[in-house]
Amino acid sequence: MRKPLTLRILSALDTKSWLALGVFLALALLVVPVLHLNFPEDSAFHVSTYAITLIGKIMCYALVAVAMDLIWGYGGILSLGHGLFFALGGYAFGMYLMRQIGRDGSYGADLPDFMVFLDWKELPWFWLGSDSFGWASFLVLAVPAVVAFVFGYFAFRSRIKGVYFSIITQALTYAAMLLFFRNETGFGGNNGFTDFKRVLGYSITSPETRLVLFGLTAVMLAATLVFAAWLVKSKFGRVLTAIRDAESRVMFIGYNPLWYKLTIWVISAVLCGIAGALYVPQVGIINPSEMSPGNSIEIAIWVAVGGRGTLIGPIIGAFVVNLAKSWFTVSFPEYWLFFLGLLFIVVTLMLPQGLVGLWKKLMAKKEGAAA
């Protein structure tokens, strides 16, 4: 007999992990807001706006990293184009944020500033309904899903895999970046969307809105983690892992890998879209450079640093790499690329299982020594 849903969800993580998750959510939803709002800025306990924005941003990245891990770590498919789905989600929600500016733009017009600049008189058709929060949220999910489905269907159907698939995804995001760079495409060209004022009528820069977005991101990350843990333990997840390890054998047994791959591919893309939608209001800008091939490859390195095929690994990786990035770009901007480049090389050469793998190895050694 099948266990009830709640039980199955509960059994996705062990007690220790549930506890850790609870602590994480308590920190994000209670401790950080209290520290941010109730302590003056010069207090040692004060959490600055900078820190909240940075951590909020990195949590979005962590969400992308988990999505990437589902497809790469469990599906064995390396996508070098996940930045595209992230950006699509961001743009979909950015359209709503642009409409929320209303007449407060620098031209005081009904249309977003960049359209006034292009001398457009009315909204293009794909902007229809973008002033509705519900429609924007739907687009955040639907646009990455549709793009991923169409692309994935054709790619997986003709059994493109390995480096071929990686290269084509890279070309895909590159082409999309070029498309979005054009002013005529209707998404603000080079500058993308920025200067947001409000979300759902609340000022986007007020501490309360920030904290709500921060908390939402934390909840979304936690929920994704639970969902992913449940997914990879389910029968679907096990078939997926089997496809990763020996696709031909899975086919010979009688499974069609196409639908398994396509499902995880679309799920991964949608998660990226959500991350993008949470990212844009917190960071305050979205532009085509988010789709640059370099950005997408960086996502892969977060996962690799943390450890692929584990769920906590990508989150650790996203935090480690991005904290290092914000430290480097402030202190030693010239050395950041050297560091990142060497990180790519060192991790692939020496740490194939990432930090989590290293930790496990050390633990095993310790136990071995104790025994």
């Binding site: 390396l78 480096v163 070309a171 690799a304 690329l337 480049g341 060497l342 692939t348």
Partner: protein, 525 residues
């Protein structure tokens, strides 16, 4: 007394034996009014007289003076009468007429037009070519006269065109019709713009001429379109050649080792910077032989890039054997390190690499189609490199080993092929070819730390379309993609062209997942 003298002079002037000029316009050259001067210059030009050339030249050189009522030319200590050319006594206080910019321009074109009557064929030809862009209606009679005298066929053709252009403003519709008909044979955008006003009722009252003009513009347009497309196809060919140089190395390493080297674009960059280095060396130590820096850069770039390739292979790629996806990431890391190294060593700005003098200019095929030498040489160079690689792969022992490892690594190892060494050699070869690509690229685009990034996606597309480890596939795919994308760019713009090519490739792979030229065999990975 004076009057009789002038009358006498006038008589003398008209006498052909004296070959002197009409004094009235000569006098007018020194008039106060600019318009009068212009009129005089034009009138003198019409005579097509060598004496007129002498006078106008003097005026252009500021040696024409007005002494009392007489126009004189003063050359150093000597003075000449402008009309007759006879030496005269130095006048007391000669006055210089004002020669402003308008007059100077008029003088220049008048002198140019008069060169049509020069005894030297070369001078006449140069003058006729120069005239094409500055024909005015007033030149019609002059051109007609020049046309009559002309015997050289090439100059005659040019003059016919110029005459027709001048005649477009003729009051006689029949003359205009003739002119339009003559111009319809050309294929130059300037002539088209001259004809355009005649296609409208406001510009041409005569129906017959107007219809002829419309037809002529159409004919010119279609010829221009052909030239434009040929030009695009040619620049596609040169783009394809660069892609080929990038993709050849990629195809070899992918074929042999099954890995895609994301730092391949940076090997192009290494080659380009090596070219820059050679140029700097030549500038510093052998400025007289600066034109030779490019041939000297070819081996340097090859070995520099090959050396970087060997280091990459030995230190990183070798250890990732069989882990293709991780190799992708590691080589991406290498590319970041290389880009940043270039920034630190040479600065973040683009460096300047100039074409040697023998590469500048081009072959003019049609007025709006010039094939630049640098692109022609690049196409030739790519073909040369392709030939060398073909020889290497098919006629040498190393090539045989490389092909053996590509087809079946385990079996090749079993029969004694040193696969590890072949990996290094193949990687060095691929890197070296990329370095050669960098030399070519340095001649047509910017040399900077990021230059490799722009070509890497395209090079991969070539490999994907062409198929793995196949020279023929890489060649067809590179040239095809290059030409196709340039033609498409002309019609739809660069971005749309890129996107539609990507879509085409994805569709293409549906049909032929292994590329155009797949290795034949039965295997499941």
């Amino acid at each position: 007394m004076k009057k009789t003298l002038i009358a006498l002079l006038l008589c003398a002037a008209t006498l052909p034996a004296q070959a002197a000029l009409d004094p009235a316009p000569v006098r007018q050259l020194a008039a106060e009014d600019s318009s009068a001067k212009v009129a005089a210059i034009r009138q003198l030009t019409q005579t097509a007289d060598p004496d007129a050339v002498r006078v106008l030249k003097a005026m252009a050189e500021d040696s024409l003076f007005l002494a009392g009522d007489k126009v004189v030319i003063i050359d150093g200590e000597q003075a000449f009468d402008a009309t007759s050319g006879e030496a005269i006594k130095m006048p007391a206080n000669p006055e210089s007429p004002t020669v402003n910019n308008r007059i100077r321009g008029e003088l220049a074109s008048a002198l140019a037009a008069l060169k049509l009557f020069d005894a030297d064929v070369g001078v006449r030809l140069a003058s006729a070519q120069k005239l094409q862009s500055q024909v005015t209606p007033e030149m019609a009679p002059l051109l007609a006269r020049a046309l009559e005298k002309e015997s050289d066929a090439q100059i005659k053709a040019l003059l016919t065109l110029a005459h027709a252009q001048a005649n477009l403003a003729n009051t006689d519709p029949a003359a205009r019709l003739e002119a339009v008909k003559a111009l319809a044979e050309t294929s130059s955008p300037t002539i088209k713009s001259v004809l355009l006003p005649l296609t409208e009722k406001a510009g041409e009252p005569d129906d017959k001429v107007r219809y002829e003009a419309i037809a002529a513009v159409k004919a010119i347009d279609s010829r221009l379109a052909i030239a434009e497309n040929v030009g695009r196809a040619f620049s596609g060919l040169s783009l394809g050649s660069i892609l080929l140089l990038g993709a050849l190395g990629l195809a070899i390493t992918y074929g042999v080792m099954g890995i895609i080297n994301m730092a391949h674009g940076e090997l192009l960059m290494v080659g380009a910077y090596a070219t820059y280095g050679m140029q700097s060396l030549f500038r510093a130590f052998a400025p007289d032989y600066i034109d030779w820096y490019l041939p000297a850069a070819i081996p340097v770039a090859f070995f520099a890039a090959a050396l970087v390739g060997v280091v990459m292979e030995r230190t990183v790629i070798r250890w990732l054997y069989g882990r293709t996806l991780e190799t992708l990431l590691a080589t991406w890391g290498l590319s970041l390190v290389l880009i940043q190294s270039a920034r630190v060593l040479f600065g973040a700005q683009n460096v300047e690499v100039s074409n040697p003098s023998w590469m500048s200019g081009g072959i003019e095929v049609m007025p709006n189609l010039i094939l630049p030498w640098n692109r022609i040489i690049i196409v030739g160079f790519a073909m040369f490199v392709l030939f060398l690689v073909w020889v290497l792969m098919n006629k040498t022992r190393l090539g045989m080993f490389v092909r053996a490892v590509t087809q079946n690594r385990a079996m090749a190892g079993c029969v004694g092929v040193p696969t590890a060494r072949i990996d290094t050699m193949a990687f060095a070869l691929g890197a070296g070819i990329a370095g050669l690509g960098g030399v070519a690229l340095s001649q047509i685009s910017n040399v900077g730390p990021d230059m490799g990034q722009g070509y890497i996606v395209d090079s991969f597309m070539v490999v994907v379309v062409g198929g793995v480890g196949q020279l023929a596939g890489a060649v067809w795919a590179a040239l095809g993609l290059g030409i196709f994308s340039k033609l498409l760019e002309g019609w739809a713009g660069a971005v749309i062209a890129k996107i539609s090519i990507l879509v085409c490739i994805i569709i293409f792979i549906q049909k032929r997942p292994q590329g155009i030229f797949a290795l034949k065999g039965r295997f499941v990975e």
